[in-house]
């Protein structure tokens, strides 16, 4: 059985939904960030699979995946800086306890 486009898309959907469940459920802010990175990787797999199966000579999906990696790296840097700043003030990174600005 040859590997078709559907295999890659279903694998990417599974990874995305696992990351979605983790981002919605976990308490630790760093684990929420790790689950967001998981979702971004799943989307990257989808992009590259589409590019490789439907328009193999254009490579547009791989260019898009490179830019998604750039944005993910920038987001991780800023997100972890925010988490470190919160930890310095509160000594707690439980996402349910960071609620000072809640009405």
């Amino acid at each position: 059985m040859a590997i078709g486009l559907e295999h890659y898309l279903i694998l990417s959907a599974i990874l995305f939904c696992i990351g979605l469940y983790g981002a919605l459920t976990k308490h630790n802010a760093v684990i929420i960030l790790m689950c967001i990175e998981l979702m971004l990787n799943a989307v990257n797999i989808t992009m590259v699979a589409f590019s490789s199966y439907i328009v193999p000579l254009l490579l547009t999906g791989q260019v898009f995946a490179i830019f998604v990696m750039v944005v993910a790296a920038a987001e991780v840097a800023v997100g972890l800086a925010i988490i470190l700043a919160i930890y310095r003030g509160l000594t707690d990174i439980d996402a349910s306890n960071i609620n000072l600005m809640k009405w």
């Binding site: 295999h7 990175e37 590019s51 490789s52």
Partner: protein, 162 residues
Amino acid sequence: MGLVIAFWIIAVVAVISALGVVFLRNVFRAALSLILCFITVAGLYITLSADFLAAVQILVYVGAISVLIILAIMMTREVQQGSPANKMKVPAFLVAVILLGIMIYTVTKTSWQVASESPLTPTTAPLALKLFSESGFILPVEMAAVLLLAAILGAIVIAREK
């Protein structure tokens, strides 16, 4: 045949390590499981003939982002290890399962027009032409540089000691 075996091994390890990220209790072991997931995603890129992207994935995700995440875990040690009950577990699980069902249904019902050409290998020179040529993606490349500069400055300002 080798590609089929490689894909199934990589896919199973990717799903298991993704489940490990979400369900492992120790935060550091979840980060190590995430590194394993990134490496399997790089393997998936190789099965898709995206060799440059696989190398960049290892360099950027495993080499830089994972190190940043482990640094943040080391600096934000939680004092108590118990995890209180989360009242979002059942709705989040339902949402994830329903979304997965919708996506799998859509993917299997659509008739994809798969091209008959095989992908370009190696991809470094065509990617360079596509990114840096005049009719390519040169403007997003320059904007990505500005974005990274802004992100670095922002992270330094937010995380420094007063």
